[in-house]
Every structure is written in structure tokens, then in C-alpha cells.
Amino acid sequence: MDPINPWLDPTEVRHLAEQLLRPVAPACLSAADAGFDSSFIGFTSGGVASIAPESTASAPVSAPLPTTHTPAIPPLPQAIQPAISISQAPPAPSVSQRSPEPPPAAPSRTRFLQRIHIFRDWLAKNFQATDIFVLDREGKVIFDESGHGRLHFMARNLAIASRGSGNIHVKIGPAAILEVIPCETPYGRIVLGALVPDALPADHINMINEVLLQTASPA
């Protein structure tokens, strides 16, 4: 007796296998973020944006580009792209040993999510920041790469506790400081959270705050 075919449908198996060899069109998700109304300039140029940095709208599945994912959004002018990606960056000296690079110019007509990714890359490159997230004025997550609700919760509470007195940080691991930087924008107060190896000095905090403000509300 055939030990295989009575237990499965060869046509179905073949179909399923062939499906796996074909490209899949990535889904586009709505980029309407809570806390920002229609007057927010970041959403005025288009109704729908891809929210995933890994999105490969123009790359077929059979041709993945593992280190440089093709974004679904149009490429930025060279002048506003980060000079090198995180994966290509050489080991960085500690933050205290060097001055951060000047922030990239925030493009006023690009979408908010595009600008926040540029900001994220700048922050990671210059301050060795990881697990970056941004909360809106209601404490909802606008952007997150940490995946840790506990960090959001902590940042939210720290931001409330520090209202009016600037940034605050807390040591959460042997080489991990949660830096919480509230930022007043025309659309309300947003809160940046990021893990850094050492607490950041005041001038760095001010610079981050300015760049975040520029990112959230470009001129």
C-alpha cells in the first residue's frame, strides 16, 4: 500500500508549494496615527503609507535584499539620506568621547513615518541608541522598535512625573539606560524613549529634542 498518497492530496500539496515560490504582494497599512489630526503636515501629501521599514513593495520575494530593504516610499534626495546605514557603521566610540554629527535636514513634505525613520537612524548612529520608541500626547505608541510595553509604560509615567522639568533617565540593566525625552510640538507633547549605554549629557538631550521637534513638525 502506498504510505503517502492516501493521506494527502498531491494536487493540493503541489499547489501550496508552488504558491510559496511565487512573490507575495506586501500589504499596505494605514498610517493614520492617533494623536495627530488632519492638520498634521506629515499626512497631507498622501492617504496611505507603508509603515514597515522592511517593506519590499518593489522587490519580488524571489529577490530579497537582506541588508537594504527597498522602501515602499519614494527615495529621498541624497542630501537628506543618512550617510551610512546602521549595519554598515563601524564600531562607534562612546558617546562621551565625541560630538554627535549634525542632524539631517528634516524634509518638510515627506511623510511623518519617513522622517521618524531618518530620526531613528540618526539617533542610533550618534548616540548608540537602541529600542527607540515615540509616544504621542495620549501616550499611544507612534513608532516602536522595542516591542516592550513595559518600557512604554515606564516612559509614559516618567514623562508625566517630569512634566515641565525636561528629560529623565533610569538604569534598567548593566549597560542600559532608558532615556525619556518629552518634546513639546505644535501637535502636543510627544515622548521619545530609547535605550543608551550611558546617560546623555544636557547638550545632547537638547540637540535630540530639537531634531525630534523638527521631525514632528518640519518648517
Partner: protein
């Protein structure tokens, strides 16, 4: 860097043997290789010394954002070959949780590995398409499916293919490199017939030409916690994984990513 999940629907199909020896083959070929034990019941971690097994690992990284990647990486005698054990976190026991709950942390792990200039990251996942395994496959660039050459294993194929099709909705760029027949017993009719049936069932490009035979040398290698090529008389088995590695690279090259995967 390219990340490849080694995943199967069924347990006990030789997933860890394939992961360890394929990773070793990549490392010997000059690629900076990271092998990650994401299988709480797997043997990559058990191959490590007792002291190394107490190190934090993959599941600790998922659970605790304060753990730096450096603390997870276990170097080996081969400079291009490093390991990450499964770890000590509570999820180590369960290894699952609901799908999606660890997606962001798995992505963070891959980003960290990429930043450390690994060329390739092989992730030995827990069997079954659920929990953290789903999150890994939803993040990885590619997947290899070890499939034991025996009838019951082949019968699980539709479920596996359905699961992968579902996961490709979440991860449309997932490159299904193919199914690799393992534990093939050439002297056993049921095993060779199962292998033959699978070759008829699947499109040719979905099945690796290289098959892994059932051989006592793999048991000896795993008992010593070593890749098979390190053993005396292991060179023959080692060439099998060199062949598999070459197939993987050829498939990746066909995916227009060749330049990234060439040895330094």
C-alpha cells in the same frame, strides 16, 4: 547579513544536526556565521559546556531589553563561528507564547546581529509553526525545512506548507529555500519510498538535491557537542554539508543577492 530559519512542522527530524553542521560549513567557507539556538528543547545549547549553558541567551534577549548582545555571543575555536544559546528566561521553558508577542524583539535581535557584521545567521527554531518560531520566520530572510524521510513526516507536509503560506503574508520577502531530506535510510524501503514520494510531490526547486543520511556519526558528533567534520572519519559527512551550503548559496545567488554571501 542574511538570516535563515531552520524550521520544521515535526520535531526530531534532525533540525539541530542540520543547523549545527550547515552553520559550520558556512563558517569554514569564510563567512562570519552566527548560530542561534531558538529551540528550548533543542541540542545546540546542550552541546555547550555546563558553564556556557548558564549564559544568557536568545530568550533572555526577548524578555529583557537591558541585555546587550555581546553577553549572548559564545565564540568557538573557529574564528568565524559563534553561537547564541537559548538562555535562561522563563520563555525558555515554554518557547512559545502567542505569535507576534515577540516579533519586535526578534527583529531587534536580527538588527543587532546585522550590526555586528555577521554574514549569515542560522536560527534553529522549535518545531511547529507557532509562538516565537512564527515570529522568527516572520522576521527571517529565508527558511530551510528539514524533513525526515519517513511516511509520517511527509504526511505533515500540507500543514507545513499552509503555515508557511500564512506566514508569507506577514513576511512577504521570506525566501523559502526548500525542503532538505534528513535521516534518509537507503536500506529501508519506507524511507526511500517516502523520499521518492516527496520528490514527486514538490516542485524540483523546492527540494534540495543534497539529502542527509541517517548515520551513527551524527550521534557521536552530537554527544561530543561538535560539528561532524571535527570528528575523526567525519570528513565524508562534512562534504555533505558543504554540498548543502553550496546549494543554499546558489539559491541565494539566484535571488540576486550573490555578492553579499561571498566569503571575504
Amino acid at each position: 547579513m542574511i538570516s535563515i530559519a531552520i524550521s520544521s512542522q515535526k520535531g526530531g527530524v534532525g533540525k539541530t544536526t542540520l543547523s549545527v553542521n550547515l552553520a559550520h560549513a558556512f563558517a569554514r567557507a569564510g563567512l562570519n556565521t552566527l548560530l542561534v539556538d531558538a529551540d528550548p528543547q533543542g541540542s545546540v545549547g546542550l552541546s555547550l559546556t555546563r558553564q556556557s549553558r548558564l549564559l544568557p541567551g536568545f530568550y533572555d534577549f526577548l524578555a529583557d531589553p537591558g541585555i546587550p548582545m555581546e553577553r549572548l555571543i559564545v565564540p568557538t575555536r573557529l574564528e568565524t563561528f559563534s553561537l547564541v544559546a537559548a538562555g535562561q528566561a522563563s520563555d525558555y521553558e515554554a518557547g512559545n507564547g502567542s505569535s507576534g508577542s515577540h516579533l519586535a524583539r526578534v527583529r531587534a535581535f536580527i538588527r543587532n546581529a546585522t550590526a555586528r557584521r555577521y554574514d549569515i545567521c542560522l536560527i534553529d527554531t522549535a518545531a511547529g509553526l507557532f509562538g516565537v518560531t512564527n515570529d522568527i520566520i516572520s522576521t527571517a530572510d529565508a527558511i530551510i525545512v528539514p524533513q525526515q524521510a519517513e511516511p509520517l513526516g511527509i504526511r505533515s507536509m500540507p500543514k507545513l506548507l499552509e503555515g508557511l503560506n500564512r506566514l508569507r503574508i506577514i513576511n512577504p520577502r521570506l525566501n523559502v529555500l526548500g525542503v532538505c531530506l534528513t535521516m534518509l535510510q537507503q536500506g529501508l524501503a519506507e524511507s526511500t519510498e517516502a523520499a521518492s514520494a516527496l520528490r514527486h510531490l514538490l516542485p524540483a526547486e523546492m527540494l534540495f538535491q543534497t539529502s542527509i543520511l541517517r548515520d551513527e556519526i551524527y550521534i557521536r558528533a552530537s554527544a561530543k557537542g561538535l560539528p561532524v567534520g571535527v570528528l575523526e572519519n567525519g570528513k565524508g559527512a562534512e562534504t555533505v554539508f558543504d554540498s548543502l551550503r553550496a546549494e543554499v548559496q546558489a539559491k541565494l545567488a539566484r535571488s540576486r543577492a550573490a555578492a553579499i554571501y561571498q566569503p571575504h
